[in-house]
């Protein structure tokens, strides 16, 4: 569901940009990118057995 929403938001950003709403497209893009990062932190929870 979370990634479905991300795909849909980027889809809307693309359509908005293509049909003349550049500012809406850029704003929605940035908002969705932040959501994507939040979703990444939600899923990237497994401990990595690595040392750096």
């Amino acid at each position: 569901m979370d990634q479905t929403v991300l795909f849909l938001f980027f889809l809307i950003a693309m359509l908005a940009g293509w049909f003349g709403g550049r500012r809406v497209a850029v704003t929605l893009f940035l908002f969705t990118l932040v959501l994507s990062v939040a979703d990444y932190f939600h899923h990237a929870t497994s401990a990595l057995t690595l040392s750096f």
Binding site: M1, D2, Q3, T4, L6, F7, L8, F10, L11, A13, M14, L15, G17, W18, R22, A25, V26, F29, L30, T32, L33, S36, V37, D39, Y40, H42, H43, A44, S46, L48, T49, L50
Partner: protein, 179 residues
């Protein structure tokens, strides 16, 4: 580089992104390898990578459009390198089938890094930002609609796979299809 040449390069990048998304569908539908949440996030980042070129094609090349692509690629690198690290230890067979020896997420990491490098190289040519913008050629408009169609297909397939909940870590069936 003229604005027209830059628009054509942006269209080519959209075709390349469409190829990546089609390859994902090939493994998902042909080999029944359902994408995990991190795999889906990498697809999302590839989709985000397409927004900048679409704006460049529609409004003419602008540095801010290229910046969107770099930000998208950075998110993609983060998700794909994270998955590489999850499977990097000896004995780990990785997630999904390898393509020419590398798993999808390893290819993804390389492609996102390549995208950042290519954007930087294309941005070196200042003339594209000064030229007057003309209507995009048919080849570019076709690329835009191809990508938009593939993004819609990804939204539908992800909804079928994950349903209305958070996607399982190791999906084995389409939750909405009950199969």
């Amino acid at each position: 580089m003229t604005a027209r040449a830059a628009v054509l390069l942006n269209a080519l990048s959209l075709y390349a992104l469409a190829l990546v998304l089609l390859l994902g569908f090939y493994f998902q539908l042909g080999w029944y390898e359902l994408p995990c949440p991190l795999c889906l996030l990498q697809r999302v980042a590839f989709v985000a990578l397409a927004v900048g070129p679409i704006l460049n094609i529609r409004y003419g090349p602008r540095p801010s459009h290229y910046a969107l692509s770099v930000l998208a690629a950075l998110v993609g690198v983060t998700a794909s390198v994270r998955q590489v690290m999850l499977h990097v230890l000896p004995g780990d067979k990785g997630y999904g089938s390898p393509i020419m020896g590398l798993h999808f997420y390893t290819w993804a990491a390389l492609l996102f890094l390549l995208a950042i490098a290519l954007v930087a190289i294309v941005m070196l040519f200042d003339r594209q930002f000064a030229d007057a913008h003309s209507p995009p050629p048919a080849l570019a408009r076709l690329a835009v609609w191809l990508v938009i169609l593939l993004v819609a297909a990804n939204a539908v397939s992800t909804l079928l796979e994950c349903g209305f909940a958070v996607c399982p870590e190791n999906p084995v069936r389409y939750l909405l299809l009950g199969g």
